[in-house]
Subunit: 290 residues, 2 copies
């Protein structure tokens, strides 16, 4: 079985897999690329993780995740910045361990409002400031910091960066080592979506394109509201064409947080991912890259 | 007890009250204005509702709700347009029945994606087209059609109008009988919020300002995620100041969908509403109007 060459399986889609299992399942499904998470890497240690990734023959499309920048200045914030510096290093060595075409992209989730705070503009400024503190480290490591806009329903408790346009507004204040993630689940509803994707492309800032579907009714835990492409309401055609037209040529990750999918065996999930990607995304890729 | 004169209790906050109970509870709490819903009016019939409203001594701040415009052309759409025409008439007579300062404002909820459809731009166009069909009726009845942007988490299943800016984009294509609702719960997260409120003011399009809070964790049914002001994450200061600076001088509705609040007796809810409004909104009203 061969999956489309630009498909990357984000490890969150098979959350309960160890790194070794995730690499094996991905390769066995004919998927050439994987999006990694820090927790399963920490579970084996970075050195072993680098070896496992190198032996897998897979590309690395990103590392999830850094960020959580919104706490006020103090020890917690300093710890967050330090942790992001470690994440930058991890991103660099893991991308180097992957096969050719791996991307040294660290996905950043901004963080929500600090405890007891209602100062949303202040939290947003701290995100920008933190990226400013990390930009030089990222540039010297050859890593792209990829700001991910999360759906506005997470603005209070998870990510104060709520639209693609807002993510670009932050990224463009920095050099080329700061970019944005376009995640279909988070941005599909945005009336400005297509123009902001074009803008991100013109600025050379699209660091990652992620796909999964928006399903209804939303489950009780809205963090697990993501579905397989085709199971929900998102039209991947216009979005994918826009990302292609904007010049993005990298891997496209499928990242799904969904309890029913997590409860399945890993191999069928990888196979279903490859199939759904072929059906709902591949037809809209630019012909030269399809 | 005297509530602030600009407070209006939206009837949805005491959902299980009959019209007569809602009017009585509102007046007894010293609240001068009420936002009405069509269902409790239909339960007594429009003629009796007009008499009850007239006898109450209250202002009417709006009628909820029209809309649900996104079905494709055909019998269902024609029925939706007809129903909106009836809602326009109801809005006019109910506002006339209220005391001086009542507002003939019909709140419009756009409707979600039609069954099996993923055509979000198409659904959005149908909303605009439907408002075009209704504008003349509204103008001749002296009614303002108030387009309400709903939170993007409802884009698939309830309202394809997802931001205040998008609502204004629609409204400004029509005459002054089409406006927008600024509902704190739906728009608080928007990085463009303050500039869009100013824009709506410059265009003379703010038809209603509604407040309630965003609480976390979101309940299992996200339609019931609204909280009393002060119980959640919204900073009502900048938002209220912006609405005031934009020239809005009308009633400010408290509209809360929350099972725990619905399960309380009506009178304490009205009193708590008046208190929370005094604490979290009144301090930010323009001094001349406070």
């Amino acid at each position: 079985m061969k999956a489309h060459p630009r498909l990357s399986l984000n490890q969150a889609t098979i959350k309960y897999a160890t790194l070794e299992e995730a690499l094996g399942v991905t390769a066995a499904a004919g998927i050439q690329s994987i999006g990694l998470w820090r927790e399963p890497i920490a579970a084996v240690g970075l050195d072993d993780a680098v070896k496992l990734v190198g032996d897998s023959g897979l590309r690395v499309s990103s590392l999830c995740r850094g960020g959580f920048f919104t706490v006020p200045p103090g020890a917690d914030r300093a710890a967050a910045i330090d942790d992001n510096r470690r994440a930058i290093e991890e991103t660099a060595v893991l991308a180097a361990a992957g096969t050719a075409g791996s991307a040294a992209v660290l996905v950043l989730v901004a963080g929500g409002l600090p405890e007891e705070s209602r100062d949303l503009p202040g939290a947003r400024e701290r995100v920008r400031d933190a990226i400013g503190e990390l930009e030089a480290d990222a540039a010297s490591a050859g890593v792209t910091l990829a700001i991910e806009a999360l759906h506005p329903m997470y603005a209070a408790d998870r990510a104060v960066v709520s639209t693609l346009g807002q993510a670009i507004d932050i990224a463009e204040q920095f050099g080329p080592s700061v970019g944005v993630v376009a995640d279909a689940f988070h941005v599909w509803w945005d009336p400005q979506l297509l123009e902001q994707i074009a803008r991100a492309g013109q600025l050379g800032r699209i660091a990652s394109y992620q796909v999964c579907d928006w399903i209804t009714p939303l489950p009780a835990d809205v963090l697990l509201a993501r579905g397989m492409m085709g199971d929900g309401h998102i039209d991947f055609g216009p979005l994918t064409r826009a990302v292609e037209a904007a010049g993005y040529t990298g891997d496209i990750e499928v990242e799904i947080f969904n309890q029913a999918i997590w409860d399945m065996a890993f191999a069928p999930v990888a196979e279903r991912t490859a199939h759904a990607f072929g059906e709902h995304v591949v037809p809209f890729l630019a012909p030269s890259l399809r």
